[in-house]
């Protein structure tokens, strides 16, 4: 946020009260606990109603990246980033494959982590361990990106003290998050998500209103881009070229499958109070990309027209450039930007707190209780989970401060899903086809991970901008993974029936 005008004392007071009030949810969550068990702490006793579930799913799925990354990407490629509406919708479509069945099974067997299901389904320690590692790595990467976004959000508001504000921003916001998260568990996180999701939703609508008020209708922005006569700008409003169309399909598949397998989202499926609540929440989620991703794209289009000329990493900060223009216009604009800033913090914190809770649950239950101390008591695991939350967050805060400006939001997003999608056969096919065997699933998972990571990080000349022929490396890995898992299971099935 290096471009916003510094906030005055009133704005800081508002932000301070808002962020501090989140601590209350930790206290409320602590008071509402029913038992000192993993399921009560991490799944909130499976008692979420419609409003809590839909807003916590919303606040968790839509992160700081939706605001900064999506507007930045639109600024770079134009209307073609409307693909983000499709891939955010694809997440809900892929839930239709497995979420309802998984919810039923989780209630029956009292699951806490996504790996609990894999344990029951495949009885393979190797699958469980690799799945836990994949999920922890993917979400830790995501959490680090959110922490860095927290720092950046505060960086520019302190004027010349920006670097210091980044450090304090990361530390203070992470501290507030870990306090309410470890006090009240998923209850506290989901209740705070409810407020954060509400603020985020209002923030997006306000952003659209502010843009139209400040710059006029979208048609004038589009006309301005056309009037530049610059081919590089005009291509941003025309249909994308064939190479980008392949990328479009790749994003829909990668994001749709990958984000549906976020462990924190799966744990919210477990936490739904009933199947009816889950069905209604997911039905509502199908329409939210039009309220969020679409508005982020519209913001990016306004930015192409009214803030031209940015390149490289600066394009990820285009949202703040737009906000500064609104902020300078009037007192009302200034006030709205303060409110929108709260929405940005909400987006980042709500995603980060869910990721942190999910990681600590998996490290405790899947790794510690699964491999190190199998007879660990519920109280012992819950206590360890809290200690791990604090330790992991301390380490990530340190990394966020040391690494500061060294990563791009979108590149982080790409690699995370390359590995997460390798879990598709185990979850999405495994839950629907009893004939899927553990051996082929394990072999497919290992092969898929090697191919995806090898292509993503190897020195191959045919890999361009992290993609091969417009498709993410993870999809090539998944294709091989599926062939091995499904083909191998058919082969095993035939052998068994022949015997």
């Amino acid at each position: 946020m290096t471009d916003l005008l510094p906030f005055g004392p009133g704005a800081w007071l508002f932000i301070g009260i808002y962020v501090s009030s989140l601590l209350l949810f930790g206290w409320f969550g602590y008071r509402a606990r029913i038992a000192n068990t993993m399921r009560d702490f991490y799944i909130a006793g499976s008692g979420f109603g419609f409003v809590v579930l839909v807003l916590t799913l919303y606040a968790t799925q839509y992160s700081g990246n939706t605001l900064f990354g999506f507007t930045g990407m639109t600024y770079r490629i134009g209307y073609a980033w409307i693909m983000s509406v499709h891939f955010m919708l694809a997440i809900v479509v892929f839930y239709a494959i497995f979420a309802l069945r998984l919810h039923r099974i989780s209630r029956k067997y009292g699951y806490v982590t996504p790996v609990d299901y894999l344990n029951d389904r495949f009885c393979s320690k190797a699958i469980s361990l690799i799945a836990a590692i994949v999920m922890v790595v993917a979400v830790t990467n995501f959490l680090l990106a959110q922490l860095m976004a927290m720092g950046r959000a505060l960086q520019g508001l302190a004027g010349p003290q920006g670097d210091l504000a980044y450090n304090y921003g990361v530390i203070v916001l992470a501290l507030i998050m870990v306090i309410y998260g470890t006090l009240g568990g998923l209850r506290a996180v989901a209740w705070s998500d409810m407020i954060q999701g509400g603020v985020l939703m209002v923030g997006f609508i306000l952003l659209l209103i502010m843009l139209v008020h400040q710059f006029g209708p979208l048609s004038s922005a589009t006309e301005m881009i056309l009037a530049t006569g610059d081919p590089d700008q005009i291509r941003k409003i025309r249909p994308p070229p064939p190479a980008m169309l392949r990328e479009w399909i790749s994003y829909i598949l990668m994001m749709g499958m990958g984000a549906a397998l976020y462990p924190q989202a799966i744990q919210r499926i477990y936490a739904s109070g009933s199947e009816r609540v889950l069905r209604r929440s997911l039905a509502a989620m199908a329409f939210l990309p039009f309220l969020t991703a679409f508005i982020a794209v519209v913001t990016g289009i306004y930015a192409i027209a009214y803030v031209p000329g940015l390149e490289g990493a600066a394009t990820d900060q285009i949202l703040t450039r737009m906000l500064r223009l609104i902020q300078e216009e009037s007192i009302l604009g200034y006030g709205l930007v303060v409110l929108l800033f709260a929405a940005i913090l909400s987006a980042i914190m709500s995603t980060a707190d869910s990721a942190l809770l999910s990681i600590s649950s998996m490290l405790t239950k899947d790794v510690y209780a699964g491999f190190i101390k199998r007879d660990a008591t519920e109280a012992e695991m819950t206590r360890l989970g809290k200690i791990l939350s604090w330790s992991l967050l301390a380490l990530l805060v340190f990394l966020a401060i040391v690494l500061k400006e060294k990563t791009s939001l979108i590149s982080l997003l790409d690699r995370k899903f390359d590995i997460l999608v390798q879990l598709v056969p185990a979850f999405m096919i495994g839950i629907r086809w009893r004939g899927l065997h553990a051996g082929p699933v394990l072999a497919g998972l290992v092969a898929g991970l090697i191919i995806a990571l090898g292509l993503a990080f190897g020195p191959f000349p045919f890999v361009s901008a992290g993609k091969i022929g417009g498709f993410h490396p993870g999809l090539y890995g998944l294709a091989v993974n599926l062939m091995i898992a499904v083909g191998g299971s058919f082969r095993l099935g035939w052998r068994q029936s022949a015997a």
Partner: protein, 64 residues
Amino acid sequence: MNFRIIAAYIVLLVLGVPWYWPSEQDTFYLGLPLWVLVSLFVGFLAALLTAWLFLRSSPPDGGA
């Protein structure tokens, strides 16, 4: 999900990805390029289909 639903999603994906528009398409409605509007409309149809899938056989509250 049965075959017809999967087929419906494939048709919506094919229509939602703007591969069939000429590269110099400059027609606008409601401030949006026509190809964007069509893609969004197809996305909205996909959202309706998805919502219907989840709501079509909702059990009574508390049903698991």
